[in-house]
Symmetry: C2
Subunit: 226 residues, 2 copies
């Protein structure tokens, strides 16, 4: 059974890459830079988006919210008066645990590409499958909350490799956790040596300035931190 399953997966991934390429061409034609935001459930992606969107004055932002079901996050973002599109993976997509290129393609007509410079895509909360499916993005960012533990890069290495930036969130909770930042970074460097990283607290605002600056640089296609 599983040999077949793996082959089906390979076919799905090939088809996905073709459609991701088409998405990318459409984004490029409209001059829109796309960031795909991935994390485990509850790592703080939506709060990080809210924080960023609120003060990205010179960049016109749009948001695509991916969820299995519901529109809670889209409603939070919409209250900030940026164009937001909800994409549910449940109806018609079999309750998928990730976004793929075809789902994003199906949402394109609802996204005002002519009116934005930067599209932030919030993927489904999951540390496995989203890393396997490109959607036509320019950059992939993963968010890891310190409450999840120091071992996560070693347990989900593909996710920590499949990104250009790791945002380490909820650092305001560090005094209350047994989480050694240096050990986490050591594990991170073991699976993705030298990847850019930001230490932030979406709740207190610590590090959020750097997060906004990273997004502005991404949106203006300037070279990254380094």
């Amino acid at each position: 059974m599983h040999r077949t399953h793996v082959k089906v997966l390979e076919g799905v991934l090939d088809a996905n890459d073709t459609i991701a390429g088409a998405n990318r061409a459409d984004f490029d034609a409209h001059g829109v830079v796309v960031v795909n935001l991935m994390s485990a459930p509850g790592a703080g992606k939506t709060t990080l988006l809210e924080r960023a969107v609120r003060e990205l004055d010179d960049v016109r932002v749009g948001v695509l919210e991916g969820d299995v079901q519901g529109s809670l996050d889209a409603e939070r973002i919409a209250s900030l008066h940026v164009p937001v599109t909800q994409l549910n993976t449940d109806p018609g997509f079999g309750g998928e645990c990730h976004l793929d290129a075809n789902m994003v393609r199906s949402a394109l007509p609802s996204i005002p590409l002519d009116e934005i410079d930067l599209l932030l895509i919030e993927n489904v909360g999951n540390l496995v499958c989203p890393a396997e499916f490109r959607v036509g993005e320019d950059h992939r960012v993963m968010v890891s909350s310190v409450t999840e533990g120091e071992d996560k890069p070693l347990k989900y290495p593909l996710m920590f490799r499949a990104c250009e930036l790791v945002v380490i969130n909820k650092i305001d909770l560090l005094p209350h956790l047994e989480f050694d930042v240096d050990r986490f970074l050591y594990h991170l460097d073991a699976v993705h040596p030298g990847v850019e990283r930001l230490l932030v607290s979406a709740r207190t605002g610590e590090g959020i300035g750097e997060w906004r600056e990273w997004l502005v640089r991404a949106a203006t296609r300037e070279p990254s931190i380094a």
Copy 2:
């Protein structure tokens, strides 16, 4: 593409149920009760297992650890001197984001079913797909950490429905979070009315006595809390 994909998924699920039935028959033949433990990454499943296993004196416990890659959790459990089997979904299974019945079946020869009363299966950290795949278990337990937010039952309703017990973990962090337990329970009851729930801190030990009692009752096939 997705219509086909959904059909493939239905076929996979049918095959899965057949194999889950075979697993269940094997477990029953050996008098082993099986609990499938599911959660998002970093919710504290392994620590809850460690806590429980350490003092379940009258119950002979075995553990099956599911991970995409690596054996960090299995090593933690093995140090407690209970039989533990590592199942990686990466080699040969295409990096699956969940355990399925066939994977568990492939691990059965490594599990000393004659020497245990209770098999605790730690699933891959994921709030979507594990809920769709029965593995032959008697009970499904999901662990939700308060750091993940109050909205999780609404965003991942299938997972919160596909279990007989919800363990709400990391309550020692409540003073440092904006997490209203009553609101979480309200959301939980909206998707799974009246499901059993335990408030625990695997770190401080609060509520761990009740968690052990629940497992002992499960192992002795006595009726549940209620």
